[in-house]
């Protein structure tokens, strides 16, 4: 019996991350990277610790942040890994770890941080 390919699994993560980042990515970057530090666009202080903490402690906020960090990383890992070929880099163990390893590590750190912020 031939070994089953793990490609559909990684491709699904790539697709899900690509879709999520296409749907909300630009706005998410604007909110956390521009509106939050500059304090623009929303009433009150978006960057306030209590406010950010409340988002990360709420169930929808926690889920969204986890899914965003994790799927963005898996999406980027899969896409980068498969583009290496076009630059003449042979995919191997080192390339695999540099791409998917980062995604796996980031997913675990995100899980830990979202657990540590409390509920």
């Amino acid at each position: 019996m031939s070994k089953r390919s793990n490609q559909p699994f990684f491709w699904a993560l790539f697709g899900a991350g690509g879709m999520l980042s296409a749907l909300v990515g630009a706005m998410l970057v604007f909110i956390t990277g521009i509106a939050m530090p500059l304090g623009i666009g929303a009433p009150g202080d978006l960057a306030a610790y209590d406010r950010a903490l409340a988002v990360a402690r709420s169930v929808p906020g926690k889920l969204f942040l986890f899914v965003a960090v994790s799927l963005f990383l898996w999406h980027a890992a899969h896409r980068t890994y498969h583009t290496l070929h076009d630059f003449g880099i042979k995919p191997g163990a080192i390339a695999w770890v540099c791409c998917y390893g980062v995604a796996l590590a980031g997913t675990l750190v995100a899980l830990g941080a979202l657990f540590a912020v409390g509920f």
């Binding site: 909300v24 970057v29 990277g33 521009i34 960057a47 990360a56 942040l65 980068t80 583009t83």
Partner: protein, 132 residues
């Protein structure tokens, strides 16, 4: 035993620059490292948030610096390009969509995707502004 020496076609650096189709392909693929970079910035924020108010303050102060703000402006542009390119190729990545016995046109799929993205971003903005 002689080792196998399969023929490897030589590759010119920048081979993709000669054809606009490949340039668009490379531009699409090049968004990936930036998506990863943003995910790591967001992850750093989560770690700081979990560490406490002082770490969070330091994170926000870092984001307020000119360099990080400029990077985020660039990232907004790259993510916007990702949205357009993602839905531009969706008619090809999706299985054929049949409506009333006819294949849905490429423009309709791209248009629906961009409309959905606009709606989702608007919802995220409203939710983030009203959160907590």
């Amino acid at each position: 035993m002689a080792a196998r020496r399969p023929y490897v076609r030589p590759m010119q650096p920048g081979w993709w620059r000669r054809n606009p189709y490949f340039v668009r392909y490379m531009a699409r693929e090049a968004t990936a490292p930036f998506v990863a970079l943003y995910a790591l910035i967001l992850l750093a924020g989560l770690v700081c948030l979990a560490e406490g108010p002082e770490a969070w303050r330091a994170y926000i102060e870092a984001l307020q610096s000119r360099g990080w703000l400029a990077l985020h402006v660039l990232l907004v542009g790259i993510f916007t390009y990702h949205t357009f390119s993602w839905f531009a190729i969706m008619p090809k990545t999706l299985p054929p969509v049949i409506v009333d016995g006819r294949r849905l046109e490429a423009g309709a799929i791209t248009g629906a995707g961009l409309a959905a993205a606009t709606l989702c971003m608007w919802i995220l903005w409203i939710v983030a502004g009203g959160a907590a």
